[in-house]
């Protein structure tokens, strides 16, 4: 096996980090290169060659106002201008810069700010047509004569569009970048870019951005803001070199990153989101990257001081250009990475030498990863570079992997550390390639052999293959000796299990499970074997006195091996072991094996089933942590009691629509029956595939009605005595004095003589007006007839007998201050002025 090949892919990232460190050591060069920014505290501006500099007043103003720029008009959109902002400036123009022109260069001082006026779409151009943004610096960094157009921010910049009014940022010549930059000068700019599309930002250009390798949003090194936030949300980055690079966030910086719901396509270099040094916090959620054009990770985080949220992010790579999903180096201990990292490199399916990793955690201790999905990866999850006393834990994860190890390298270069793997599933789909490894590959470092693995309750399965070098567990292989290992209660299907090669190592397992370090494991599947290499020294097949059980073939198992007096096999193990031994049976137990509650239906493609469970079942909203495991979707936690809500039903009113939903908390696929009498006119309805029912209808008779509602769900039954009080409809009350009435004019069609308009009533009082609400049209002009009224007031009504009315609201009360608008139509054949006196009644007739 080629151990080194496992980590080759990671040197790309390491080199990036190394380059960043190197840059930290050459500030003089940086200052010389970036002449347009000062290297001492203060705010200095060197506008691009060919631009016209204007400076805002200290009080700022609208970008479109000449007064803002000392009386200089920026000619509508400031094309070719270098805007130096000393105070708050609002861009009230729809464009800044002209596509095909020079665009604009904007310097925002620490006392200045730039924001966008609301309610219009904005387009910003940073072009500098004809100029070389790299100047004499060549292609790797800006030269002293660089002509850079874009935004340099030391004060706040808020380029916040909306879905309706987005922001477009473009670079007309495809070379000059858009960038937001910060140098050593003071200032704590908060940068917001929302609902923006950023295109032509220097893809592939080495000097794209003030940080020469990023053309998205970059911060230069040696920056230690005391309070600053970068908020990037709902943006669309098209062909950027990278999206965010916090190269300059020093170890004491208080720079926080929020990156949510962004879509990145065609990244041409680097990685997408990178912080080299110590963000204060990072919240990275639901970002999607596709079709990267260069190797790189979706995220590379090196040290985060306080909190790190990573969830719902996905990357779809290609064979040539994808390094992986997330590399986290020195994350805060016990960082909960949320529910999902989806990483799929479909081009790696069947590839002989996959190079991409899904998750690579280094020097990150505690329970850092949970519920991760990785398909077609090299290393789905790598937990490594642990220090002697550190532990990295992976729980409740799922890996669909092709080659190499699933979890491994617990301490490859470091001298020690413990890999703690629990309640996880590995499906190894292809072992036809020589050198393929297996699910769990743990081996010791080159230093003292103190690296350990402790694995409990995991399920490992191989679908195809038979390569003799592949395994379920690969532990303690020479020369990478390990100690204090524990494998307990794992189910291994289709694999051999490798415990060292017998050539060296102490093969010491802990003695916590009945005196040996391998216990209560079971293998499953025809023809599998175990320990083709050396067995642990204290290994026993369990036939006599040890509770370690490795079954080579379930179908041929000798029941005597099941020493139930000493082996606490869970019920599901018994089920598997006593079943026909098909993969379907195996997968049917996967969820339980991983500590998940519920059951999981299987088709004849069980792997795809599991993929679906994981890819679409695990979301932050439906994955519940239950006692003893995780449940997916609507499947309840085992043993969780059902609840029925609401506890009591509201009163109804006769002849008024009544709707009430009943919900069984924790219930699955519930049916409902009522024993007793529902109010006449009401009915109970449900689908049987959800946990809710509805009682609805129009009650026809006043009275008190009591009944027993019984909900029978797939996972339990709950019942409750309920009652509905149906009140007689209240006598109508004239509430006109509490109503404000306004109306539109009437448009009309001379060919139909129909007049149309609208009336709005507003509750101008301080009390709610109960439904039904009726608009009564009294004193209607004689020649005019109302079209489509709800009806005529009954002649028995003492107030307005026979007057047409419209029911404005039959169910909902009108709260104080609330309004309702309804259409009116009149037939007016004589084209007379339409007049009426509107009265509003609360209550029925």
């Amino acid at each position: 096996m080629d151990r080194n090949s496992i980590v080759d892919a990671d040197f790309t990232m390491l080199s990036v980090v190394a380059r960043g460190i190197a840059r930290m050591g050459r500030p003089a060069l940086v200052c010389g290169v970036l002449v347009f920014l000062t290297c001492v505290p203060g705010f200095a501006v060197t506008c691009p060659a060919g631009s016209t500099q204007v400076t805002s007043t200290t009080t700022g103003g609208n970008a479109g106002s000449a007064a803002t720029w000392g009386g200089t008009s920026i000619l509508n959109n400031g094309d070719g201008y270098c805007l130096v902002i000393e105070g708050p400036v609002v861009d009230d123009l729809s464009t800044l810069g002209t596509s095909g022109g020079k665009g604009v260069a904007i310097f925002v001082s620490p006392t200045g700010s730039l924001s966008l006026s609301s309610g219009i779409a904005h387009a910003l151009y940073f072009a500098g047509a004809g100029a070389d943004p790299c100047g004499s610096g060549g292609t790797s960094s800006p030269g002293a004569d660089a002509t850079m157009w874009g935004i340099f921010a030391q004060g706040n910049v808020s380029l916040a569009g909306t879905q309706t009014f987005p922001v477009t940022m473009n670079s007309a010549n495809g070379v000059t970048p858009f960038y937001i930059a910060k140098t050593e000068a003071p200032g704590n700019p908060s940068i917001t870019v929302k609902w923006a599309q950023l295109t032509n930002l220097g893809a592939g250009a080495e000097c794209g951005g003030i940080y020469p390798e990023f053309s998205g949003i970059a911060f230069y090194e040696s920056w230690n803001p005391s309070s600053a936030t970068v908020d990037i949300e709902n943006d669309n980055f098209v062909n950027p070199y990278g999206v965010f690079w916090a190269a300059g966030a020093g170890s004491g910086s208080q720079l926080s990153l929020i990156a949510k719901n962004n879509v990145i396509t065609g990244r041409s270099g680097g990685s997408t989101v990178v912080n080299e040094y110590h963000l204060y916090s990072a919240d990275v959620e639901n970002n999607t990257e596709s079709a990267p054009a260069a190797a790189g990770y979706l995220g590379v985080f090196n040290g985060i001081q306080t909190s790190f949220t990573w969830t719902g992010n996905a990357i779809a790579g290609t064979a040539a250009y994808s390094a992986g999903g997330l590399t986290g180096i020195g994350l805060p201990a016990n960082t909960a990475l949320g529910s999902t990292l989806v990483y799929n490199d479909p081009a790696m399916a069947g590839a002989s030498s996959p190079t991409s990793n899904g998750l690579d955690l280094q020097q990150s201790t505690g329970t850092n990863a949970a519920w991760l999905y990785c398909e077609n990866c090299n290393q789905s999850f790598a937990l490594r570079y642990l220090a002697n006393t550190d532990t990295a834990t992976l729980t409740n994860s799922v890996a669909i992997t092709n080659h190499r190890a699933w979890v491994g390298q617990g301490a490859y270069f470091a001298s020690g550390g413990l890999l703690n793997l629990q309640n996880s599933i590995c499906i190894f789909t292809d072992e036809t390639v020589t050198g393929a490894e297996g699910c769990v590959f743990a081996y010791g470092g080159n230093g003292p052999a103190v690296t350990s693995i402790q694995a409990k309750n995991n399920t490992l399965y191989r679908t195809v293959g038979g390569n003799t070098e592949s395994f379920g567990f690969g532990v303690d292989e020479s020369p990478y000796t390990m100690t204090n290992n524990l494998l307990e209660n794992n189910l291994v299907g289709g694999f051999q299990t490798d415990f060292g090669d017998g050539t060296s190592g102490t093969d010491v397992f802990v003695t916590s499970c009945g005196g040996v370090g391998v216990c209560r494991n079971a293998t499953f599947g025809a023809g599998v074997s175990y320990a083709t290499m050396a067995k642990p020294a204290n290994w026993d097949n369990g036939t006599v006195q040890h509770p370690s059980v490795l079954y080579g073939d379930v179908d041929g198992i000798d029941p005597l091996f099941l020493d139930t007096t000493r082996i606490s096999l869970a019920a599901y193990d018994v089920q598997v072991l006593s079943g026909p031994g098909t993969p379907g049976d195996f997968f049917a137990q996967l969820g339980k094996r991983a500590g998940w509650g519920g059951t999981y239906p299987l088709s004849n493609t069980p792997i795809q089933d599991v993929v679906q469970w994981v890819k679409y079942g695990f979301t932050p909203t439906n994955a519940l942590i239950c006692p003893g495991g995780v449940t997916i979707g609507a499947v309840p936690c085992a043993g969780v009691p059902l609840t029925l809500s609401p506890g009591a039903l509201p009163n109804g009113t006769s002849n008024v629509q009544y709707t009430q939903t009943l919900t069984v908390g924790g219930g699955v696929n519930c049916t409902f029956v009522n024993a007793g009498v529902l109010p006449p006119g009401l009915a109970l309805s449900y689908t049987g595939t959800s946990n809710s029912a509805s009682i609805s209808g129009v009650p026809t008779a006043a009275g008190a009605y009591n009944f027993l509602l019984v909900a029978s769900c797939a996972n339990g039954v709950i019942s409750r005595s309920l009652g509905i009080q149906v009140n007689a409809i209240p006598r109508q009350t004239d509430v006109t004095s509490q109503i404000g009435v306004v109306g539109s004019g009437l448009t009309f069609n001379r060919t139909t003589n129909i007049y149309k308009g609208a009336i709005t009533i507003t509750n101008s009082g301080s009390t709610s007006l109960s439904a039904p609400l009726q608009a009564v049209f009294t004193n209607l002009t004689f020649e005019v007839a109302m079209i489509g009224p709800t009806g005529a007031v009954p002649v028995s009504n003492s107030l307005y007998p026979g007057v047409p009315y419209i029911t404005v609201s039959s169910i909902d009360a009108l709260a104080p201050g609330a309004s309702l608008t309804f259409p009116v139509q009149f037939l007016n054949p004589f084209h007379v002025a339409v007049g009426y006196v509107l009265r509003v009644l609360a209550g029925g007739f």
Binding site: G743, G745, T747, F748, R750, I754, A833, Y836
Partner: protein, 237 residues
Amino acid sequence: MIRGIAQILALCLLGLLPTGRARAEIINWQIDVDTAGVESQVGYLDFNFSAGNSADFDPAYVTVSNFQTDGSVTGELFPINDVTGTLPGNVELDNLAPSDYTATFTYGTFLDFTLTLSVPSISGSAQFGSSFLLSTWDSHFNNLLTADGDADPGLIGINLNAPTDGVSIQNYSSGDLATVSSAPEPASFALLAAGLIGFGLFGRRRRIPGMLSSIPSHGSGQPDYRPMDWRFRRHQP
């Protein structure tokens, strides 16, 4: 007479006052319609203007002026209620009763006009506003140029929501074939000048009491300050 002069002077001065709830509102819109898609079709142009509830409304009127087209107006249907003028000249409608002017029309490639609204105040206390509606009909009174082709609601609607100080414009045209844009309000001096002219005309035409023609005619886009009693004249049959 003295009272009338005072009223005219007061109206003249209104043009110099800052905008406020007390002054009359003069609003101009430029309405442009691309009729190339129905060029040569014969149909109707219909304008109507009406209050919402005669029991509670602000009197107002609208004027169609600057009517331009490469089509042709070939006649008109009988006007409904208070309508003066004919296309292609200026046409005026008030909302004392529902007013409608319909011209028979052969469509060209465009038609444009200025619509001037004069109302004491769109922010007044009247609870029911007024609505103007332009319809472009074919020879069977079906809407042309609209998205759905229904007979209703027309092509362009302008609704005065008096109590909310608002004017809402409904553009039912298909693919923005019709556009409505705000036309600049006359400058204050123009208002004053117009008022003074009106004063002169008033002095001359008051000698023919009771006739509609006693109302000062107003040029394109110019304000029209009438004697205060214009709103009380009788409806035409």
